[in-house]
């Protein structure tokens, strides 16, 4: 057994498949979906995230990254395969799995804009299961962690970067074992991206398992211990960034080369 094998697996994704089926005919007047034919968004993806590890999920638009993160977050039912969080099958016991998950979705919504940052965190803390007094203390602590202490105001007055940091703080409220982030750095300036990377590294050092989906190849190369590359729902690469670093131009360039082989538009920044 290697040293890595001794680190506990937090997230285990086994052969996960998601096919978006058009709704049955009797529901079509109600549900409008993009799919008129069955569309395979994820086709048999398997990987693990261990405690303290940051795994980067990379791929072009439509690669299946968001679908995969929503499946793991129990928001979307897979068509096949199995996901376990600390050994709990999320399909069999989603309520228990949700105690272990902190989620940041890909836009800067997911917050109440008529409340302050602190009020948002206090509210979501209780929803995440914290007793109110604990939620209050944790909210104040996390506002400090993400650099928003002293700048608290109604969320509609926040910049995109501040909202992203607040979303990260929200996801960390209940000290989840698994942090899921879907393109959190989208729309962030370089300084805000750097701050986010620092937060993620600190969280990983404290033992949290992190799954980070991103278009930013430089961010993936810099922050992640492991990279999972998806193209058209299929896994094309899974391994340490070092395994790619032989290519000229470094890891980001190597990832871009890997992903553009399929004719997509990923570029290193």
């Amino acid at each position: 057994m290697t040293e890595v094998d001794r680190v506990p697996v937090v997230l285990n994704v086994e052969d996960v498949v998601k096919v978006y089926e058009p709704p049955p005919w009797w529901l079509r007047p109600l549900i409008r979906t993009a799919a008129r034919e069955p569309v395979e968004a994820v086709g048999g993806v398997s990987f693990q995230v261990r405690s303290g590890e940051i795994v980067g999920l990379v791929g072009p638009n439509g690669a299946g990254k968001t679908t995969l993160i929503r499946i793991i977050a129990t928001l979307l039912e897979p068509s096949g395969g199995r996901v376990t969080i600390r050994g709990t099958d999320i399909a069999a016991n989603p309520a228990r799995a949700r105690h272990s998950i902190g989620l940041v979705l890909s836009d800067d919504r997911g917050l109440y804009w008529r409340l302050t940052g602190l009020q948002n965190l206090e509210f979501f803390g209780v929803m995440a299961g914290l007793p109110p007094a604990t939620a209050r203390a944790r909210a104040a602590e996390l506002l400090e962690t993400v650099g928003l202490r002293g700048r608290d105001k109604l969320v509609f007055g926040y910049s995109a970067g501040m909202r992203t940091r607040l979303n990260v703080a929200r996801a960390l409220l209940a000290q989840p074992e698994l942090l899921l982030l879907d393109e959190p750095s989208r729309g962030l300036d370089p300084v805000a991206s750097r701050q986010l990377a620092d937060i993620l590294r600190t969280q990983a050092q404290s033992g949290r398992a992190i799954l980070l989906s991103s278009h930013r190849l430089d961010e993936i190369a810099e922050v992640c211990d492991t990279v999972v590359a998806l193209i058209g729902g299929d896994m094309r690469f899974a391994g340490a960034p070092d395994e790619l670093s032989g290519a000229a131009g470094g890891v980001a360039r190597a990832l871009a080369t890997l992903l553009t082989e399929e004719g997509n538009d990923m570029e290193p920044r």
Binding site: E21, L27, L105, G110, R114, M127, P132, R170
Partner: protein
């Protein structure tokens, strides 16, 4: 670590909604003004029509008759629209998926989201009664009002909340354009006789009135308050409301949980 209780979660939702409502400064003031105009309109229509023959079974003429109609319909609309409105608001804010990724159950979220609108309704009803008190003083049977209104409005709100959960089911799937809430509200207003006695409707339409839950709530409240009836006289209407609740509540909850499951499969949970 101990976990927040269901009551603590509900209280957090109530606190959130109060803070959001407080951030809209004129909401309550506009509501009060609206009630004043509405009650004033009924009062002057009452002066215009006097004591018509069609209302001979009831005391006080048109004003208290229409005021009770308005109170019951306001209560019905709250039950009917709150759940779908809340689901729709959360979808638009992007908070629905965030909330559903937490261990808090959807039922707790919906229950908590209902309480602040309910408190607003109680304020609204109190204002209607204050208006009636100013106009009528002690001429209205206040003991009957205090005994009849809470029980029958509670039953009415339970029945219409079930219909509201059906409406929220459609919103979860279709996102917008729920045809149910508007149709039920308008048909109830018309067929239950909120603003005129059902006896004025043609016979075949009166048959349809009996299919509308608000009809029973309205008839029972008016009979108790304005026709000196006793609880024994309105037992049939009370049982009809209980029967509606017994059928509609579990079936609406089943339909809603099915809709959420379908949205989880189709990936449309957070769409709006």
């Amino acid at each position: 670590m101990t976990s927040a209780s269901t009551m603590e979660r509900v209280a957090a939702i109530v606190r959130r909604d109060i803070m959001v409502e407080r951030s809209y400064h004129f909401q309550l003031a506009l509501q009060v003004i609206g009630i004043g105009f509405s009650a004033g309109t009924f009062f002057f229509i009452g002066k215009l029509v006097g004591e018509p023959d069609a209302l001979s079974d009831y005391e006080g003429g048109y004003f208290p008759f229409a005021l009770i109609g308005s109170i019951v319909m306001t209560t019905s609309v709250l039950g009917l629209s709150t759940f779908s409105q809340k689901i729709s608001d959360e979808q638009r804010a992007g908070t629905l998926e965030v909330l559903l990724s937490t261990p808090t159950r959807l039922g707790t979220i919906l229950l908590g989201s209902f309480l602040v609108p309910l408190a607003f309704l109680l304020v609204e009803l109190a204002l209607y009664l204050v208006f009636a008190l100013i106009v009528f003083g002690s001429a209205l049977p206040w003991t009957s009002i205090v005994m009849a209104l809470p029980v029958l409005l509670l039953l009415t709100i339970v029945v219409f909340s079930a219909l509201g959960i059906f409406s929220a089911t459609i919103i979860v799937l279709a996102k917008r354009g729920d045809p149910l809430a508007g149709l039920v509200a308008q048909s109830s207003n018309f067929l239950a006789g909120a603003l005129f006695p059902v006896s004025l409707l043609p016979g075949w339409l009166q048959f349809f009135s009996h299919l509308v839950p608000a009809f029973y709530g309205l008839r029972a409240i008016r009979d108790l308050i304005l026709a000196n009836a006793g609880w024994g006289d309105v037992l049939g209407d009370v049982l009809a409301l209980v029967a509606f609740a017994a059928v509609l509540l579990p079936s609406s909850m089943w339909a809603f949980s099915r809709a959420v499951r379908i949205a989880r499969v189709t990936g449309t949970l957070g769409n709006y």
